[in-house]
Symmetry: C2
Subunit: 148 residues, 2 copies
Amino acid sequence: MNLELSNFLPYLLNQTAELVSRDFQPHYKDRYGMLRTEWRVLFHLGRQGEMTAKQICEQAAIHKTKISRAVRALEMKRYLERKTIEADRRSETLKLTKSGRAAFDDLSRAAVQYDQSLAKSMSETDLEALKAMLSKLISEKTRAGPAV
Amino acid sequence: MNLELSNFLPYLLNQTAELVSRDFQPHYKDRYGMLRTEWRVLFHLGRQGEMTAKQICEQAAIHKTKISRAVRALEMKRYLERKTIEADRRSETLKLTKSGRAAFDDLSRAAVQYDQSLAKSMSETDLEALKAMLSKLISEKTRAGPAV
DNA sequence: GGTTATCAGTTGCTTTTGTAACTAACAAAC
DNA sequence: GTTTGTTAGTTACAAAAGCAACTGATAACC
């Protein structure tokens, strides 16, 4: 096999991810002053309700220091609150505040819209296939060696 | 539509790209002390021969300061040489040295192998379809608004 | 030919990330 | 019940990325 850039999956994935992220970034950055990791944490909490930082780390495969900083940033913006878990005082539940919830709802709408705009450039079946393959790759890699 | 994380394309792309990059990183990082951008620049030059920094910026959609630093780093490692273009003395051609070429060849082999190992978890047709869709997204986004 | 605009690439400064070492809480062993 | 190990989360320091202002060269206009 002759390695073309356009044929090297890590390269393609990086390129696509970066371009697409750059595209969606204004929504959370300009309108809510959030960083990408903050948006991701908000997203997880919005979707799943209360979680600990650890749980987010595992699910999102993001390093714990990044999560720690994102949580503090969101806390200072009054988008989430922490509560120490009495059964194990090392960990704490994270929960969106009213305004955190509002931000999540708003950004969710933007996300759905953006997702649909991407869908325009390919067929519905292709899009589903694409997502399925990416999910598969993620679950394999995540099982193999999650972010510590 | 109810927005699941697993259904949001930017999220899936990011996640996949990050996991896959982390996986391949040891090859260029541990063995050649390269950063990801350096590896990408090496890759472009290896594939396409002489190029200017500008051309790499455009093709790779990487910001020019990142390229500038990667080029300097590769130059200091004696993997590439510059030559001012006399017709337009602002720009310079970049070209791999012998050892740069050797590093590229070696890393290419690793890349092909890695690419094939990814292919194991999906059918050949699926893999081709995946790459085609990613390429399409890239070309659309790149035409829309390239990195400055 | 001189003023103004543009372009390739670099540098300086700030923000963000990565890494490793840390604190505080728990658990196991004995 | 106290040593030893582990875990959740934080912090400090170093490396990398982003951004804006810069240099030196070319082009465009008058």
